[in-house]
Protein backbone atom coordinates (compact mmCIF):
# COMPACT_ATOMS: atom_id res chain seq x y z
CA UNK A 1 0.00 0.00 0.00
CA UNK A 2 2.74 2.34 1.00
CA UNK A 3 4.70 1.40 -2.12
CA UNK A 4 1.69 2.15 -4.38
CA UNK A 5 1.19 5.55 -2.82
CA UNK A 6 4.89 6.30 -3.25
CA UNK A 7 4.78 5.31 -6.92
CA UNK A 8 1.64 7.44 -7.52
CA UNK A 9 3.30 10.40 -5.86
CA UNK A 10 6.44 10.01 -7.98
CA UNK A 11 4.36 9.69 -11.18
CA UNK A 12 2.48 12.88 -10.36
CA UNK A 13 5.69 14.72 -9.59
CA UNK A 14 7.26 13.62 -12.88
CA UNK A 15 4.16 14.57 -14.86
CA UNK A 16 4.09 18.03 -13.25
CA UNK A 17 7.77 18.56 -13.97
CA UNK A 18 7.24 17.63 -17.64
CA UNK A 19 4.28 20.01 -17.96
CA UNK A 20 6.16 22.87 -16.36
CA UNK A 21 9.19 22.40 -18.59
CA UNK A 22 7.25 22.49 -21.86
CA UNK A 23 6.12 25.76 -23.42
CA UNK A 24 2.70 25.85 -21.85
CA UNK A 25 1.39 29.41 -21.88
CA UNK A 26 -1.93 31.12 -22.10
CA UNK A 27 -2.62 32.58 -25.51
CA UNK A 28 -2.92 36.35 -25.57
CA UNK A 29 -5.75 37.12 -27.96
CA UNK A 30 -4.29 40.60 -28.52
CA UNK A 31 -1.80 38.82 -30.79
CA UNK A 32 -4.67 38.12 -33.17
CA UNK A 33 -7.16 40.11 -35.18
CA UNK A 34 -10.65 38.85 -34.64
CA UNK A 35 -11.82 39.34 -38.19
CA UNK A 36 -12.70 36.55 -40.58
CA UNK A 37 -13.42 36.26 -44.27
CA UNK A 38 -16.87 36.33 -45.83
CA UNK A 39 -16.24 33.24 -47.96
CA UNK A 40 -13.32 31.60 -46.13
CA UNK A 41 -10.95 33.29 -48.55
CA UNK A 42 -8.00 32.37 -46.35
CA UNK A 43 -8.30 28.79 -47.64
CA UNK A 44 -7.09 30.02 -51.01
CA UNK A 45 -5.67 33.53 -50.62
CA UNK A 46 -4.33 34.75 -53.92
CA UNK A 47 -2.21 37.90 -54.04
CA UNK A 48 -1.81 39.69 -57.34
CA UNK A 49 1.53 41.48 -57.30
CA UNK A 50 1.15 44.71 -59.26
CA UNK A 51 3.77 45.61 -61.86
CA UNK A 52 4.34 48.85 -59.90
CA UNK A 53 6.26 46.92 -57.21
CA UNK A 54 8.15 44.50 -59.45
CA UNK A 55 11.77 45.38 -60.17
CA UNK A 56 14.97 43.46 -60.88
CA UNK A 57 15.71 43.60 -57.13
CA UNK A 58 12.18 43.06 -55.88
CA UNK A 59 11.25 40.16 -58.10
CA UNK A 60 9.25 36.97 -57.75
CA UNK A 61 11.63 35.50 -55.19
CA UNK A 62 10.83 38.36 -52.79
CA UNK A 63 7.08 37.87 -53.00
CA UNK A 64 7.34 34.09 -52.83
CA UNK A 65 8.33 34.62 -49.19
CA UNK A 66 4.61 34.65 -48.45
CA UNK A 67 4.44 30.94 -49.35
CA UNK A 68 6.15 30.25 -46.01
CA UNK A 69 2.69 30.65 -44.51
CA UNK A 70 1.65 27.41 -46.25
CA UNK A 71 1.78 23.93 -44.73
CA UNK A 72 1.06 25.23 -41.23
CA UNK A 73 -2.73 25.18 -41.08
CA UNK A 74 -4.83 23.01 -43.38
CA UNK A 75 -7.33 25.90 -43.56
CA UNK A 76 -4.81 28.38 -44.91
CA UNK A 77 -3.27 28.48 -48.34
CA UNK A 78 -1.47 31.41 -49.91
CA UNK A 79 -0.35 31.89 -53.50
CA UNK A 80 0.99 34.77 -55.56
CA UNK A 81 0.36 35.91 -59.11
CA UNK A 82 2.92 38.19 -60.70
CA UNK A 83 1.00 40.66 -62.83
CA UNK A 84 2.19 41.00 -66.41
CA UNK A 85 1.28 43.68 -68.98
CA UNK A 86 -2.21 43.15 -70.31
CA UNK A 87 -3.04 40.44 -67.78
CA UNK A 88 -6.82 40.21 -67.42
CA UNK A 89 -8.59 40.50 -64.10
CA UNK A 90 -8.47 37.29 -62.11
CA UNK A 91 -11.40 36.74 -59.79
CA UNK A 92 -10.94 36.49 -56.04
CA UNK A 93 -7.43 37.92 -55.89
CA UNK A 94 -6.20 40.42 -53.33
CA UNK A 95 -4.29 43.42 -54.61
CA UNK A 96 -0.68 44.23 -53.73
CA UNK A 97 0.41 47.68 -54.91
CA UNK A 98 2.75 50.55 -54.29
CA UNK A 99 1.57 53.51 -52.21
CA UNK A 100 -0.69 54.76 -54.99
CA UNK A 101 -2.86 51.70 -54.62
CA UNK A 102 -3.17 50.90 -58.31
CA UNK A 103 -3.62 54.44 -59.62
CA UNK A 104 -0.32 55.50 -61.19
CA UNK A 105 -1.43 59.16 -61.25
CA UNK A 106 -2.86 59.16 -57.75
CA UNK A 107 -1.71 60.29 -54.33
CA UNK A 108 0.90 58.21 -52.53
CA UNK A 109 -0.11 56.98 -49.08
CA UNK A 110 3.55 56.79 -48.09
CA UNK A 111 3.89 60.57 -48.44
CA UNK A 112 1.47 60.76 -45.52
CA UNK A 113 2.60 57.81 -43.40
CA UNK A 114 6.22 56.71 -43.14
CA UNK A 115 5.88 52.93 -43.21
CA UNK A 116 7.33 49.90 -44.99
CA UNK A 117 3.89 48.52 -45.71
CA UNK A 118 0.20 48.83 -44.91
CA UNK A 119 -2.59 46.22 -44.97
CA UNK A 120 -6.10 47.53 -45.50
CA UNK A 121 -9.31 45.55 -44.92
CA UNK A 122 -12.61 46.08 -46.80
CA UNK A 123 -16.11 44.74 -46.26
CA UNK A 124 -18.43 43.44 -48.97
CA UNK A 125 -19.55 47.00 -49.81
CA UNK A 126 -15.98 48.13 -50.44
CA UNK A 127 -15.95 50.12 -47.22
CA UNK A 128 -12.78 50.26 -45.13
CA UNK A 129 -13.05 48.24 -41.91
CA UNK A 130 -11.58 50.16 -38.95
CA UNK A 131 -9.29 48.34 -36.58
CA UNK A 132 -10.08 49.36 -33.02
CA UNK A 133 -6.96 49.16 -30.86
CA UNK A 134 -5.57 46.78 -33.48
CA UNK A 135 -8.29 44.20 -32.98
CA UNK A 136 -11.48 44.07 -34.93
CA UNK A 137 -14.37 41.79 -35.60
CA UNK A 138 -15.00 42.61 -39.24
CA UNK A 139 -16.17 40.31 -41.96
CA UNK A 140 -13.55 40.84 -44.60
CA UNK A 141 -14.32 40.60 -48.27
CA UNK A 142 -11.10 42.01 -49.66
CA UNK A 143 -7.67 43.14 -48.56
CA UNK A 144 -5.27 45.55 -50.18
CA UNK A 145 -1.56 45.52 -49.34
CA UNK A 146 0.55 48.58 -50.08
CA UNK A 147 4.33 48.19 -50.22
CA UNK A 148 6.86 51.00 -49.86
CA UNK A 149 9.81 49.73 -51.87
CA UNK A 150 11.41 53.17 -51.94
CA UNK A 151 12.01 52.83 -48.20
CA UNK A 152 13.13 49.21 -48.35
CA UNK A 153 15.71 49.93 -51.07
CA UNK A 154 17.83 51.79 -48.49
CA UNK A 155 18.30 48.76 -46.27
CA UNK A 156 21.63 46.87 -46.23
CA UNK A 157 19.84 43.81 -47.60
CA UNK A 158 16.85 45.23 -49.48
CA UNK A 159 15.61 41.91 -50.86
CA UNK A 160 15.59 40.33 -47.40
CA UNK A 161 13.82 43.36 -45.93
CA UNK A 162 11.24 43.35 -48.74
CA UNK A 163 10.61 39.62 -48.38
CA UNK A 164 10.14 39.93 -44.63
CA UNK A 165 7.91 42.97 -45.08
CA UNK A 166 5.64 41.23 -47.58
CA UNK A 167 5.38 38.11 -45.41
CA UNK A 168 4.56 40.41 -42.47
CA UNK A 169 1.73 42.06 -44.38
CA UNK A 170 0.40 38.69 -45.54
CA UNK A 171 0.50 37.66 -41.88
CA UNK A 172 -1.93 40.52 -41.17
CA UNK A 173 -4.26 39.20 -43.89
CA UNK A 174 -4.17 35.93 -41.94
CA UNK A 175 -5.35 37.93 -38.91
CA UNK A 176 -2.05 38.00 -37.05
CA UNK A 177 -1.41 41.19 -35.13
CA UNK A 178 1.84 42.80 -34.05
CA UNK A 179 2.91 40.63 -31.12
CA UNK A 180 2.48 41.65 -27.52
CA UNK A 181 5.66 41.55 -25.46
CA UNK A 182 9.17 40.50 -26.38
CA UNK A 183 8.91 37.58 -28.80
CA UNK A 184 10.66 36.49 -31.96
CA UNK A 185 8.16 37.01 -34.72
CA UNK A 186 7.86 38.00 -38.34
CA UNK A 187 4.96 40.17 -37.17
CA UNK A 188 7.21 42.58 -35.25
CA UNK A 189 7.49 46.10 -36.63
CA UNK A 190 10.53 47.18 -38.58
CA UNK A 191 13.15 45.60 -40.84
CA UNK A 192 15.37 42.61 -39.94
CA UNK A 193 18.56 44.64 -39.57
CA UNK A 194 16.87 47.16 -37.23
CA UNK A 195 15.04 44.82 -34.87
CA UNK A 196 16.70 41.67 -33.54
CA UNK A 197 13.29 40.22 -32.66
CA UNK A 198 12.24 40.07 -36.31
CA UNK A 199 12.39 36.68 -38.00
CA UNK A 200 12.47 36.36 -41.78
CA UNK A 201 10.18 33.32 -41.77
CA UNK A 202 7.21 32.61 -39.51
CA UNK A 203 8.54 31.87 -36.02
CA UNK A 204 7.23 29.25 -33.59
CA UNK A 205 5.14 32.02 -32.06
CA UNK A 206 3.62 32.89 -35.44
CA UNK A 207 2.95 29.24 -36.26
CA UNK A 208 1.22 28.68 -32.92
CA UNK A 209 -1.05 31.67 -33.40
CA UNK A 210 -1.84 30.80 -37.01
CA UNK A 211 -2.97 27.36 -35.88
CA UNK A 212 -4.87 28.86 -32.97
CA UNK A 213 -6.74 31.14 -35.36
CA UNK A 214 -7.47 28.79 -38.24
CA UNK A 215 -6.91 25.30 -36.83
CA UNK A 216 -4.12 22.81 -37.34
Amino acid sequence: MKKRRMLSFISCAVASAVLMSTAVYAFDTNNLLHGSYTHNQQKDLKFRISQSIQTSLFDRSVYESALNWNNISSNVHVSIIMETPGMPTIADTMGVYDGKGGNPNGENLFNSVFAFGVTQFYDSNGKVIPIKKETFYGKVEYVKILINNSLLINKNNPAEAAAMNFSHEVGHTLMLNHPVGIVYSIMNNGAPEDNYLITTVPSDHDIDYLKYKWGA
Binding site: T93, G102, V113, F114, G117, G190, D194
Partner: protein, 203 residues
Protein backbone atom coordinates in the same frame (compact mmCIF):
# COMPACT_ATOMS: atom_id res chain seq x y z
CA UNK B 1 -54.80 84.08 -31.82
CA UNK B 2 -53.66 83.52 -28.23
CA UNK B 3 -52.83 79.89 -29.10
CA UNK B 4 -50.69 80.94 -32.06
CA UNK B 5 -48.83 83.46 -29.93
CA UNK B 6 -48.14 80.83 -27.24
CA UNK B 7 -46.91 78.38 -29.90
CA UNK B 8 -44.51 80.98 -31.25
CA UNK B 9 -43.16 81.68 -27.76
CA UNK B 10 -42.68 77.93 -27.14
CA UNK B 11 -40.80 77.49 -30.41
CA UNK B 12 -38.59 80.47 -29.60
CA UNK B 13 -37.83 79.12 -26.13
CA UNK B 14 -36.97 75.68 -27.51
CA UNK B 15 -34.61 77.22 -30.07
CA UNK B 16 -32.81 79.18 -27.37
CA UNK B 17 -32.48 76.04 -25.22
CA UNK B 18 -31.14 73.93 -28.10
CA UNK B 19 -28.58 76.50 -29.18
CA UNK B 20 -27.30 76.87 -25.62
CA UNK B 21 -26.87 73.07 -25.46
CA UNK B 22 -24.74 72.99 -28.62
CA UNK B 23 -22.60 75.82 -27.26
CA UNK B 24 -22.04 73.77 -24.05
CA UNK B 25 -20.66 70.83 -26.12
CA UNK B 26 -18.13 72.95 -27.94
CA UNK B 27 -17.32 74.86 -24.75
CA UNK B 28 -16.07 71.55 -23.24
CA UNK B 29 -12.84 72.52 -25.02
CA UNK B 30 -12.20 69.11 -26.53
CA UNK B 31 -11.36 68.80 -30.17
CA UNK B 32 -13.16 66.06 -32.12
CA UNK B 33 -15.90 65.84 -29.52
CA UNK B 34 -18.62 63.46 -30.74
CA UNK B 35 -16.30 61.91 -33.35
CA UNK B 36 -15.43 58.20 -33.23
CA UNK B 37 -11.80 57.15 -33.60
CA UNK B 38 -11.43 54.67 -36.48
CA UNK B 39 -7.84 53.47 -36.91
CA UNK B 40 -7.58 51.81 -40.33
CA UNK B 41 -4.87 49.74 -41.92
CA UNK B 42 -2.07 47.94 -40.15
CA UNK B 43 1.32 49.51 -40.77
CA UNK B 44 4.79 48.01 -40.58
CA UNK B 45 6.64 50.98 -39.11
CA UNK B 46 10.41 51.48 -38.96
CA UNK B 47 11.80 51.20 -35.44
CA UNK B 48 14.29 53.64 -33.97
CA UNK B 49 15.96 52.58 -30.75
CA UNK B 50 18.06 55.72 -30.28
CA UNK B 51 18.19 59.38 -31.24
CA UNK B 52 21.17 58.95 -33.53
CA UNK B 53 19.17 56.64 -35.82
CA UNK B 54 16.36 59.20 -35.96
CA UNK B 55 18.77 62.02 -36.72
CA UNK B 56 20.45 60.05 -39.51
CA UNK B 57 17.13 59.12 -41.11
CA UNK B 58 15.73 62.69 -41.01
CA UNK B 59 16.13 65.18 -43.84
CA UNK B 60 15.22 67.99 -41.44
CA UNK B 61 14.79 68.34 -37.68
CA UNK B 62 12.88 71.42 -36.58
CA UNK B 63 10.69 72.89 -33.88
CA UNK B 64 7.50 74.29 -35.38
CA UNK B 65 3.93 75.36 -34.70
CA UNK B 66 0.89 74.41 -36.74
CA UNK B 67 -0.39 77.55 -38.39
CA UNK B 68 -3.93 76.67 -39.42
CA UNK B 69 -6.66 74.11 -39.16
CA UNK B 70 -5.60 71.06 -41.16
CA UNK B 71 -7.12 70.58 -44.61
CA UNK B 72 -8.13 67.06 -45.56
CA UNK B 73 -8.63 65.13 -48.77
CA UNK B 74 -10.12 61.67 -49.34
CA UNK B 75 -8.16 59.58 -51.83
CA UNK B 76 -10.02 56.94 -53.82
CA UNK B 77 -8.83 54.33 -56.30
CA UNK B 78 -10.78 52.18 -58.70
CA UNK B 79 -10.86 48.59 -57.50
CA UNK B 80 -11.74 45.85 -59.95
CA UNK B 81 -12.97 43.58 -57.16
CA UNK B 82 -15.82 46.02 -56.43
CA UNK B 83 -16.06 47.61 -59.89
CA UNK B 84 -16.07 51.04 -58.29
CA UNK B 85 -13.85 53.55 -56.51
CA UNK B 86 -13.00 52.64 -52.94
CA UNK B 87 -11.28 54.69 -50.25
CA UNK B 88 -7.51 54.26 -50.28
CA UNK B 89 -6.77 56.69 -47.47
CA UNK B 90 -7.55 60.14 -46.10
CA UNK B 91 -4.76 62.67 -45.91
CA UNK B 92 -4.52 65.92 -43.97
CA UNK B 93 -2.03 68.68 -44.51
CA UNK B 94 -0.99 71.58 -42.37
CA UNK B 95 1.76 74.16 -42.41
CA UNK B 96 4.18 74.71 -39.58
CA UNK B 97 6.10 77.88 -38.92
CA UNK B 98 9.62 76.96 -37.90
CA UNK B 99 10.96 78.45 -34.68
CA UNK B 100 14.15 76.40 -34.41
CA UNK B 101 16.28 74.49 -36.93
CA UNK B 102 18.33 71.56 -35.66
CA UNK B 103 19.11 69.90 -38.97
CA UNK B 104 18.45 70.79 -42.58
CA UNK B 105 18.53 73.64 -45.01
CA UNK B 106 15.69 75.70 -43.54
CA UNK B 107 15.43 78.99 -41.70
CA UNK B 108 13.47 80.23 -38.67
CA UNK B 109 10.10 81.64 -39.80
CA UNK B 110 10.10 79.42 -42.90
CA UNK B 111 6.85 77.55 -43.42
CA UNK B 112 6.71 73.94 -44.57
CA UNK B 113 3.80 71.57 -45.22
CA UNK B 114 3.41 68.37 -43.28
CA UNK B 115 1.21 65.48 -44.41
CA UNK B 116 -0.45 62.96 -42.14
CA UNK B 117 -2.84 60.17 -43.11
CA UNK B 118 -6.06 60.94 -41.27
CA UNK B 119 -9.35 62.77 -41.77
CA UNK B 120 -12.98 62.90 -40.61
CA UNK B 121 -15.39 60.91 -42.79
CA UNK B 122 -19.00 60.17 -41.77
CA UNK B 123 -18.39 61.28 -38.18
CA UNK B 124 -15.36 59.01 -37.84
CA UNK B 125 -11.73 60.05 -37.58
CA UNK B 126 -10.23 57.62 -40.06
CA UNK B 127 -6.53 57.43 -39.38
CA UNK B 128 -3.59 55.42 -40.68
CA UNK B 129 -1.29 57.29 -38.32
CA UNK B 130 -0.63 56.71 -34.63
CA UNK B 131 -0.09 60.44 -34.19
CA UNK B 132 -2.87 62.68 -32.97
CA UNK B 133 -4.23 65.26 -35.44
CA UNK B 134 -2.35 68.40 -36.41
CA UNK B 135 -4.01 71.16 -34.38
CA UNK B 136 -3.57 74.88 -34.94
CA UNK B 137 -1.31 76.46 -32.36
CA UNK B 138 0.36 73.23 -31.12
CA UNK B 139 4.19 73.22 -31.15
CA UNK B 140 6.27 70.07 -31.56
CA UNK B 141 9.76 68.93 -32.40
CA UNK B 142 9.66 67.22 -35.81
CA UNK B 143 11.93 64.65 -37.42
CA UNK B 144 10.92 64.84 -41.07
CA UNK B 145 11.48 63.22 -44.44
CA UNK B 146 11.06 65.36 -47.51
CA UNK B 147 8.70 64.01 -50.18
CA UNK B 148 9.14 64.46 -53.92
CA UNK B 149 6.35 67.08 -53.90
CA UNK B 150 8.22 69.22 -51.34
CA UNK B 151 5.91 68.25 -48.48
CA UNK B 152 7.19 66.49 -45.37
CA UNK B 153 6.27 63.40 -43.36
CA UNK B 154 7.15 62.40 -39.79
CA UNK B 155 9.86 59.73 -39.75
CA UNK B 156 8.50 56.38 -38.61
CA UNK B 157 5.10 58.06 -38.15
CA UNK B 158 4.84 58.22 -34.33
CA UNK B 159 8.61 58.06 -34.16
CA UNK B 160 8.95 61.47 -35.79
CA UNK B 161 7.11 63.96 -33.56
CA UNK B 162 7.70 64.78 -29.90
CA UNK B 163 6.29 67.28 -27.40
CA UNK B 164 8.05 70.35 -26.11
CA UNK B 165 8.67 69.95 -22.39
CA UNK B 166 6.16 71.59 -20.04
CA UNK B 167 3.82 72.45 -22.90
CA UNK B 168 0.08 71.95 -22.58
CA UNK B 169 -1.52 70.65 -25.75
CA UNK B 170 -5.11 71.06 -26.94
CA UNK B 171 -7.46 68.53 -25.38
CA UNK B 172 -8.61 65.84 -27.78
CA UNK B 173 -11.73 63.80 -27.04
CA UNK B 174 -10.22 60.73 -28.71
CA UNK B 175 -7.35 60.19 -26.27
CA UNK B 176 -5.90 61.04 -22.87
CA UNK B 177 -2.41 61.24 -24.37
CA UNK B 178 -2.63 64.49 -26.34
CA UNK B 179 0.41 65.79 -24.45
CA UNK B 180 2.43 62.94 -25.98
CA UNK B 181 0.89 63.37 -29.43
CA UNK B 182 -0.22 59.73 -29.76
CA UNK B 183 -3.52 57.97 -29.18
CA UNK B 184 -1.92 55.05 -27.34
CA UNK B 185 0.85 55.63 -24.82
CA UNK B 186 2.59 52.40 -25.91
CA UNK B 187 3.34 54.09 -29.26
CA UNK B 188 5.38 56.85 -27.58
CA UNK B 189 9.13 56.21 -27.61
CA UNK B 190 10.07 57.29 -24.09
CA UNK B 191 13.74 56.31 -24.46
CA UNK B 192 14.32 58.40 -27.54
CA UNK B 193 12.36 61.29 -25.99
CA UNK B 194 14.65 61.31 -22.96
CA UNK B 195 17.64 61.50 -25.31
CA UNK B 196 15.99 64.44 -27.11
CA UNK B 197 15.45 66.31 -23.86
CA UNK B 198 19.02 65.68 -22.82
CA UNK B 199 20.61 66.70 -26.11
CA UNK B 200 18.50 69.57 -27.43
CA UNK B 201 17.93 72.85 -25.65
CA UNK B 202 14.34 74.05 -25.43
CA UNK B 203 12.86 77.19 -23.92
Amino acid sequence: MKKKFLSLISIALCSILLSSCSEAVSESGEEFSGIELAPCGLSNLPIYTNLEQLENESDVIVVGTFKEDAKQEEVYTYEEAFEKDILLFVKSQNNIEISKVIKGDLQVENEITILQAYGVVDNQLITYSKLTPMLKGDTWIFFLKKNEDETYTCIGDCGGRYPIKNTKYKKIALTDNEDLGVYDKSDFNEEVYNEILEKYEFE
